[in-house]
Amino acid sequence: MARTYANDFEPQESGGLKILQAIHLDPPLVLALMLLTACGLGILYSAGNQNIDLIIRQSTRLILAFGVMVMMAQIPPQNFKLWAPWIFLFGIILLALVLVLGDIGKGAQRWLDFGFVRFQPSEMMKLAGPMMIAWFFADKPLPPGFKNLIIAIILVIIPTMLIARQPDLGTSLLIAASGFFVIYFAGIKWKLLAGFGVLMAALTPVLWHFMHDYQRRRVLTFLNPENDPLGAGYHIIQSKIAIGSGGLYGKGWLNGTQSHLDFLPERSTDFIFAVFSEEFGFLGVMLLLALYFFIVIRGLMIASKAQDSFGRLLAGSLSLTFLVYLFVNVGMVSGLLPVVGVPLPLVSYGGTSMVTIMAGFGMLMSINSHRRLLRK
């Protein structure tokens, strides 16, 4: 069957947007992402005490990340589907390798050092995980049968456990979520879904049993931060003070006292949302969350217009995972969830997760723009 690719599915528009479409990008999504990252740079400028070097480094990473996104957008989704099992397998091997090397070293081990580049296999797994499950379901009749469901769940559990062992609870939960979202979109029965939820709740004490001391402490601290106001609870108390003192209008850009007087720890990275909230207030927070919401909805729209199961499942999962990132980070910073090391997507300082996320959006755009023209 002859395959031709075109992007005439969307109504044609003029000017710059045309160029974007020509290189397989989705203009609304690109605009939203650029707006978000620009906001991110602005708030990072404040959080980093107006350190220009920090901004230059972050900008460099952003350019790299956007480059990766554009690159990914050029690759037809069929190729992702073809590569998915191999990437997944490669990722599992690397994760195993990390664990082995981690046993030799000491403490948490998340990185592989190849000398010229340091690499975090769990980041790769954030994409490889959902790709693999989507690949698994792609050519099978959906909703999946019970047997396939079990196999998919096992495929989710393997990388999750490997990463949880590192230990990196945040990432492992994110990967579990992204795999789970594929299963959800594949059409797991609502009843089963509910049963699954009950099972997870029942397993919480078991999870507690397997947690490290510091993880347990975090959970306890989350439940009652005032217990240890200078120790583990300090982050969350100061973060809540920063957010709460922002009020409706905020203290103004560069005027956050909690952040600029160093009361707020980790303010360029995981707790950057507290800086934003302090300086821009509830109004700013509403706008920021609206921007994130727009990106998620746009992703879901792309997913529902995708042409094949693989694209649909992958796009849907990536979009929802992005939302989970946001929810976990903001929830943690505002004291709604325990402190797990999840950055605010595309805003927190740091390169690795940003590249992964943008690569994901690249895939999303690829799914959106590489279309087969079906004969009527």
Binding site: P141, L142, P143, F181, Y184, F185, G187, Q238, K240, I241, A242, I243, G244, S245, G246, G247, L248, T257, Q258, L261, D262, F263, S277, G281, F282, V285, M286, L289, Y292, F293, V296, I297, L300, M301, A303, S304, S309, R312, G316, S319, L320, L323, L326, F327, V330, G331, S334, G335, L336
Partner: protein, 619 residues
């Protein structure tokens, strides 16, 4: 197979779209959840977190007000503030505290006591606030530390004003001293006013007028970062300095009196009769208050405590002595007023007195007796028998009632610490304290100021001033005026008039005073030795109080040696008689005779005061 797949694809797209809509709804729910949480933090609890945020960044730092100075009545400085260096340590900036302390100990002298105090302060100190380790560094120590300062991060000098008493030991019992605040004192005062201060008045005027001297604390509102480092001052409210005290004490007279007392233990109080202003308040021996400001060393303190004379004991106010014969003018006055004796009535003194139906002889100090004796002669020669008889006629109740009007047995209410009441015995008192009845013999010895009766030198001086003023009473006080350093105004401390002692005839006063004049100016007066070259007329009364075998301050009895068994020498006087300017009471412990030991001291003091203030020709 192909057909089912096609059908499934159609179904699949429909199902996916449904699930995508559910996912979108889920997104809305999650985002709303976050917004609700943020709304709660930023809108509902905003005020709470705003306060916490300010508490984080804004710190109040107190600034110690300058303590008010103390001047004598002529403007001589008696207590001032001198800049001194102290060594402060900020524990948060020190890596190894113990090592730093040892290393510092090699450079300057650090006592165990300093370290103890430092460790105590460490427990209740605010983050990033310096704690004082040593105060009053010498210039050499400052120099040594300055050179080695780079080795000690977190160690700093602080300049502060410290109390200094330029006259040293002079008038120490009136002024007292300041010292480091202790826990009890923090409980006693408004501790918010003392957060910037390290010192507080411990005794004397320094303690009595603590509030006025201390001033009001100032504060600075500063913005700090998480390390507690001050970034900028947001608001400043300067402290208002303490008020200066201008005392009624005449520093020159005080020094003269202390010099005149010589090596004797005892006390001297001089009062200006028509105002009640205390001109000199001497308790001997004296001690230097300056070491107490920085914390006196244990060794020096023990030395002070162990010296038998107990210099810290304020004899002028806390010393309760049997007043002896200097009570005679008051008893005599009481007798004249009550009509128990006539102004010219003579009694016969044969050297002893017998109570009806009693064997015991109450002896006169003069074995041979004074023969015919009227009130004037009885005072001039201090005839005991006359006053035995008078006391017998008056009875204890009348004596108590009359002496009570002069303030005996009660605090005068002078404005400094450690005043005691003395003791004016009565039937009730004896019933209450000793649970026995009053015996007539006890009335007799009360008549000559012995027995149970005790008075402080201040009470004696104050009562003498009342005699000088013919019944007009003034509350004795040390504070003459207060100067407010902010407004520059000087406020005079008003004279407090006490109820006047009104007698049925003012001639009674004259009769008694003429007797007292005869003490000094007649040929048989007990203090005639000081009278011959006076340029003015002085009224006085000598006293010699028995120490041995008399109930008195227990603390004294224990350490008595041979000298300690000798009588106390007393003298009370005022001058000039017509227009009294000064009233004095003196006690020289174990001095022997009042006329030969105490009276010459009074002469020196009164001479100095009158000549200096009213010229050599005063009458």
């Amino acid at each position: 197979m192909y057909r089912t797949l096609i059908k499934d694809l159609y179904m699949e797209v429909r199902m996916f779209k449904l699930r995508a809509i559910v996912a979108a709804l889920l997104s809305i729910v999650l985002i709303c959840l976050l917004l609700i949480r943020l709304f709660q933090l930023q809108i509902i609890e905003h005020a709470h977190f705003d306060t916490l945020s300010d508490n984080n960044r804004v710190r109040l730092m107190s600034t110690e007000p300058n303590r008010g100075l103390i001047y004598d009545r002529h403007g001589m400085v008696m207590a001032e503030n001198q800049p001194t260096f102290s060594l402060d340590i900020t524990p948060e900036e020190v890596t190894d505290l113990d090592q730093t302390l040892t290393e510092l100990g090699k450079l300057i002298s650090i006592q165990e006591r300093d370290i103890k105090q430092f460790k105590k302060a460490l427990k209740r100190h605010k983050r990033f606030e310096g704690i004082s380790l040593r105060s009053n560094l010498t210039e050499e120590e400052v120099a040594v530390l300055a050179i080695n300062r780079y080795r000690f991060p977190g160690v700093d000098f602080k300049t502060q004003l410290t109390r200094y008493y330029p006259m040293g030991s002079s008038a120490v019992h009136a002024i007292g001293y300041v010292g480091r605040i202790d826990e009890d004192e923090l409980q006693r005062v408004d501790s918010s006013q003392y957060s910037g201060s390290s010192h507080i008045g411990k005794v004397g005027l320094e303690r009595y007028y603590e509030q006025a001297l201390h001033g009001r604390l100032g504060y600075k509102k500063v913005e700090v970062n998480v390390q507690g480092r001050v970034l900028r001052v947001l608001e400043e409210n300067p402290p208002s300095p303490g008020q200066d005290l201008i005392l009624s004490i005449d520093a020159g007279l005080q020094a003269t009196a202390e010099y005149a007392m010589g090596d004797n233990s005892g006390a001297l109080v001089a009062i200006e009769p028509n105002t009640g202003e205390v001109l000199a308040l001497v308790s001997m021996p004296v001690y230097d208050p300056n070491p107490f400001v920085h914390g006196i060393s244990r060794k020096a303190y023990q030395k002070l405590q162990k010296s038998g004379e107990r210099p810290q004991f304020n004899r002028a106010l806390s010393g309760q002595y049997p007043p002896g014969s200097i009570m005679k003018p008051f008893i005599g006055l009481g007798g004249l007023v009550g009509g128990q004796v006539g102004a010219v009535e003579e009694m016969f003194c044969e050297g002893y007195y017998l109570l009806p139906n009693e064997e015991r002889k109450y002896r006169d100090w003069k074995r041979t007796g004074h023969f015919e004796t009227d009130i004037k002669k009885a005072l001039a020669e201090s005839c005991d028998v006359y006053f035995y008889e008078l006391a017998y006629r008056m009875g204890i109740d009348r004596i108590f009632g009359f002496l009570d009007r002069f303030g005996f047995g009660k605090k005068t209410g002078i404005d400094t610490t450690s005043e005691r009441t003395g003791l004016l015995p009565s039937r009730d008192w004896k019933k209450r304290e000793k649970n026995t009845i009053w015996y007539p013999g006890e009335t007799l010895i009360t008549g000559i100021g012995q027995g149970y009766m005790l008075a402080t030198p201040l009470q004696m001086a104050s009562a003498t001033a009342t005699l000088a003023m013919r019944g007009e009473r003034r509350k004795p006080h040390l504070l003459r005026a207060v100067r407010d350093n902010k407004s520059g105004e000087t406020l005079t401390n008003p004279i407090v008039e006490l109820p006047k002692i009104k007698l049925n005839s003012k001639w009674h006063w004259s009769r008694i005073i003429s007797g007292m004049k005869a003490v000094v100016h007649s040929t048989h007066g007990t203090a005639r030795a000081i009278g011959y070259d006076l340029t003015y007329k002085m009224a006085g009364k000598t006293g010699t109080a028995q120490v041995y075998g008399i109930a008195q301050d227990e603390e004294y009895d224990e350490e008595k040696l041979a000298k300690k068994l000798r009588d106390h020498a007393l003298f009370s006087a005022f001058a000039p008689i017509k227009n009294p300017k000064i009233a004095v009471a003196i006690i020289v412990e174990n001095g022997g005779s009042g006329g030969s030991v105490a009276a010459p001291i009074a002469k020196q003091v009164i001479n100095h005061y009158l000549h200096k203030n009213y010229g050599k020709n005063i009458r």
